[in-house]
């Protein structure tokens, strides 16, 4: 009753309208709604749903389960074999990883959150999504420490070719071996999104697509509208700037 701003007291009428869950303050999750039939059936002792009904997908309990599962990475020695990091580096990496994700795996939300901390001005969620897909080699929706370290090992300790391969893999959103214009446009847009609106000079709407055109002109040798891995690597090796910038990653850790 006390000290509530007008907006708050007015908006709390949402409670009565049913568009607002009183306890959690969120819109009622559609996942936790069960059909009336299910509820009725539950009451009857004989009709306990033995087989999991198809409607109940992702309920709150599943969420809890995911967070209480503690995923342990494989041993340090195994990781040493698989990656090119030294023991100390792995230790440092793991400590940072575990600090932010005590459960041992990163899901996409956390990934996006972490990445957005580095780019406060723009919207980095799309690019983070692409990155997540690139790191999540096993396609299980979460990045474990092994995936994380494997990706980092290639980028930071791999040869130039490995790095270019990895970049290609990042661009190839559907992992079919070639980069189409649409994929490239998506990537480009996500990179420009990270810059945000407050730039000087301000970005035109057509800037990403122009950039994509530029890219394709450079990379697409046979002008077939897609860039394959060989075209990509070949073109990159010919470009001085790209080669030089690939060297940047030698000293990151």
């Amino acid at each position: 009753m006390k000290a509530k701003t007008r907006e708050q007291s007015l908006s709390d009428s949402r409670e009565l309208d049913g568009s607002y869950d009183q306890l959690t303050g969120n819109p009622p999750s559609s996942q936790s709604k069960k059909t009336i039939k299910q509820r009725f059936l539950k009451l009857l002792p004989c009709c306990q749903p033995s087989a999991t009904p198809s409607v109940s997908q992702y309920s709150i309990e599943d969420d809890f389960e995911l967070s209480t599962v503690c995923y342990r990475p494989e041993g340090l020695e195994k990781l040493l074999e698989q990656t090119k990091f030294t023991k100390k580096e792995l230790q440092i990496l793991y400590r940072g990883f575990k600090n932010e994700c005590p459960s041992g795996v990163v899901n996409e939300e956390t990934f996006k959150l972490i990445y957005s901390q580095f780019f406060p001005q723009g919207d980095s969620s799309t690019y983070a999504h692409f990155l997540f897909d690139a790191f999540d080699t096993q396609k299980n929706g979460s990045v474990s420490f092994e995936d994380f370290v494997a990706g980092l090992s290639i980028i930071l300790r791999g040869s130039i070719n490995d790095r270019l391969n990895w970049a290609f893999n990042l661009y190839d959103l559907n992992k079919d071996g070639c980069i189409t214009k649409e994929e490239m446009t998506d990537i480009m847009k996500s990179i420009y999104d990270m810059m945000g609106k407050c730039t000087y000079p301000s970005m035109k709407e057509t800037a990403p697509s122009e950039h994509v055109e530029n890219f394709f002109q450079k990379m697409d040798r046979n002008k077939d509208g897609v860039v394959t891995i060989d075209e990509f690597i070949e073109s990159c090796q010919k470009d001085e700037n790209i080669m030089q910038s690939m060297q940047l990653f030698d000293n990151v850790i």
């Binding site: 600090n99 692409f130 994380f148 910038s245």
Partner: protein, 645 residues
């Protein structure tokens, strides 16, 4: 940047690989780490408790003490650790902040000590995590209020030069300040009571004369009541005018609630005086008399509980408003329902909806007078629902009001308790303060004693004793000594070999001086300052002081004015105590004894003897009796006025 993500910076930098192939321009050069050192553990020793953490952990927040190079100031080369002389319990929270990125405020910790630690380590309290922030803010607010209360009490202390108006205002606001104020307070209270009782008794039927019906007392003894009323109103008017005169801000005073009540209380009388003869208006005049009952509110100046009640109601205005609103809603609903339910029944008292209001109110507040009762079944059902809901609606906001009242009341009680304890507290603080200043004066005497002993070549053990003062103390005393020397004016009479110093004296002596300063009229050299500081020596411009070190020297100089000094010098050199019982020094001995219990009996006592200043003036003719024994005047009693012996 949050703590955890600082560790992810390498990842973010690695992820930039996605930009390289599409970039049109070459990338800037990356910063390299000059001395690439492996992450190492550092040891933080906080008052003996050792905390260890990675250096990188601390580097996450470079704008704090631990994250910046400021911690190098605390580095201990021998033990290769960083030593902080702070509270280790609070340090736990601070180190956890570096580790987890969240600063927590532990509930058991005192708010001001926590604030101090945060300030020391360079962490702003605003980053306290959401889980603990509310608690922190609440405690901080409470603390601030408490400090403000204390400060307000301090403001009551009497300043030496307050205008008459200010004194009067203070007297009005706080009756305990002076006897006059107390008298005034009680007199007004008495008259308020008298006035209220008069108003009440006026209406009581007062016995009847045989041909008339019962007559209220007011009409029977008109004159008497009128006189009483006049007297009370006069007193109130005078009080109001005095308050108006004394108020620091008249406009604000006139707008305040109490003054409005005052005005409303006395206005009917004057209005009545003005229009006694007009018949039509006298009806209105009678109504005005009702306002006389407002005089009872004047009691709120006299009763704190009443004030608290008023303040509570004011602060619970929103709850009260809610209560009123919900009651109104319920009344309207139920009145309507009851009206329509009872419409059918014959001879129903529920003639209209407004008429049903009365029934609803009486039922909801569970009064149930019974003057209106529903007769139909529907009416009875709805009536019962009405009474049940009434209980609920009223019961809901009431606890909020009650808890508010309780909180304010306890706060007030706490304030009163603190005020009562304050005197004792201040006295104790003053004792400890004078202890330090006495230590200074004492050591000064000892220091001078040393000089005196050097000059006269006395025994070893006396000298011994004075080495027990610590280095810190002696440095502090030296500092005060320097201050004295600094503020001494230059030499005035050329004939006098030694300057007269500006010296610290203790309170007792200062007060004595003030008293005597009024009595004496010899010129003085320098005003002496009281050691309690802060008070300008407005009255003590008459004294000057002489260190006893001068005495041996001046003992050598001839002349009657110095004869006294000789005598005092003699006293100093005597080592036997008992024969001195009748002399001045015995007065000195008593308190000194208390201080030096472990000394030999042959202790020489020093006396700072005050002597009238310039040569040629007659020494003061008055001695004075033994100083009043008090705990704080150990040095004071050793300062005696020299009487002509």
């Amino acid at each position: 940047m949050a703590a955890g993500v600082a560790a992810w910076l390498p990842f973010a930098r690695a992820a930039a690989i996605g930009w390289m192939p599409v970039a049109n321009l070459p990338m800037p050069v990356a910063p390299t780490e000059k001395n690439k050192r492996q992450d190492e553990l550092i040891v933080l020793n906080v008052s003996g408790r050792r905390f260890q953490t990675w250096r990188n952990t601390l580097d996450r927040y470079p704008d704090t003490l631990l994250g910046s190079s400021e911690k190098e100031f605390f580095y201990d080369e021998e033990t290769k650790e960083y030593f902080f002389d702070r509270d280790p319990d609070v340090f736990r929270s601070i180190l956890n902040f570096y580790r987890t990125g969240k600063l927590h405020y532990p509930r058991y910790e005192c708010i001001s000590s926590y604030d101090e630690e945060l300030a020391f380590f360079g962490i702003i309290p605003e980053i306290i995590g959401d889980c603990c922030y509310e608690e922190y803010k609440d405690r901080k607010r409470e603390n601030a209020e408490r400090l403000m209360d204390d400060q307000e009490d301090n403001k009551d202390s009497k300043l030496p030069n307050m205008t008459f108006r200010e004194t009067m205002w203070r007297a009005f606001e706080n009756p305990h300040t002076s006897t006059m104020a107390l008298v005034f307070y009680y007199v007004t209270g008495f008259f308020i009571a008298v006035s209220v009782i008069t108003n009440v008794v006026e209406t009581v039927p007062c016995g009847s004369s045989p041909n008339q019906k019962d007559v209220p007392c007011g009409e029977r003894y008109t004159v008497a009541f009128f006189c009483m009323d006049t007297a009370c109103v006069m007193i109130f008017t005078v009080e109001y005018l005095l308050r108006l005169f004394a108020a620091p801000s008249r406009y604000r005073f006139m707008r305040s609630v109490m003054s409005i009540i005052d005005v409303v209380a006395i206005l009917p009388y004057y209005i009545g005086l003005v229009m006694t003869n007009n018949e039509d208006v006298s009806g209105a005049f009678v109504t005005l008399r009702v306002f006389r009952v407002f005089r009872i509110f004047k009691f709120s100046r006299h009763s704190q509980g009443l004030r608290i009640l008023g303040y509570t109601l004011k602060s619970c205005a929103s709850e009260l408003g809610f209560l009123l609103f919900s009651l109104t809603m319920a009344i309207i609903i139920f009145a309507t329902v009851m009206f329509y339910a009872e419409k059918g029944s014959t001879s129903s008292k529920f003639t209209s909806i407004p008429a049903s209001f009365w029934y609803t109110i009486v039922t909801m507040t569970t009064l149930g007078y019974g003057d209106m009762v529903p007769k139909t079944i529907a009416g009875k059902i709805f009536g019962s629902i009405c009474s049940l809901s009434g209980v609920l609606v009223i019961a809901l906001p009431v606890p909020v009001i009650v808890s508010n009242f309780s909180r304010i009341y306890h706060q007030n009680q706490r304030a009163d308790k603190r005020r009562a304890q304050k005197k004792a507290r201040l006295a104790r603080i003053r004792i400890s303060k004078t202890g330090t200043s006495n230590a200074f004066l004492h050591s000064k005497r000892n220091g001078l004693l040393n000089e005196a002993l050097d000059l006269t070549g006395s025994t070893e053990d006396e000298r011994h004793h004075n080495k027990t003062t610590s280095l810190l103390e002696s440095q502090h005393h030296h500092l005060l000594h320097c201050l004295e020397k600094t503020t001494t004016p230059s030499q005035h009479p050329p004939s006098f070999p030694l300057p007269q110093n500006h010296e610290f004296v203790d309170e007792h002596l200062y007060e004595q001086n003030c008293l005597e300063g009024a009595l004496q009229n010899y010129t003085s050299r320098s005003p002496s300052l009281s050691s309690s500081g802060g008070l300008t020596g407005t009255c003590c411009s008459r004294r000057s002081r002489r260190k006893s070190a001068h005495l041996p020297n001046s003992a050598m100089s001839p002349g009657p004015p110095h004869g006294l000094q000789e005598l005092s010098a003699v006293h100093i050199h005597r080592s036997d105590r008992p024969p001195l019982s009748t002399s001045r020094s015995s007065l000195n001995l008593m308190p000194d004894e208390a201080m030096r219990l472990n000394c030999k009996s042959g202790q020489i006592t020093t006396a700072i003897i005050s002597i009238p200043t310039p040569p040629g003036t007659t020494p003061e003719g008055d001695g004075h009796g033994p100083p009043s024994p008090s705990v704080q005047t150990t040095a004071g009693s050793s300062v005696v006025k020299v009487s002509a012996l």
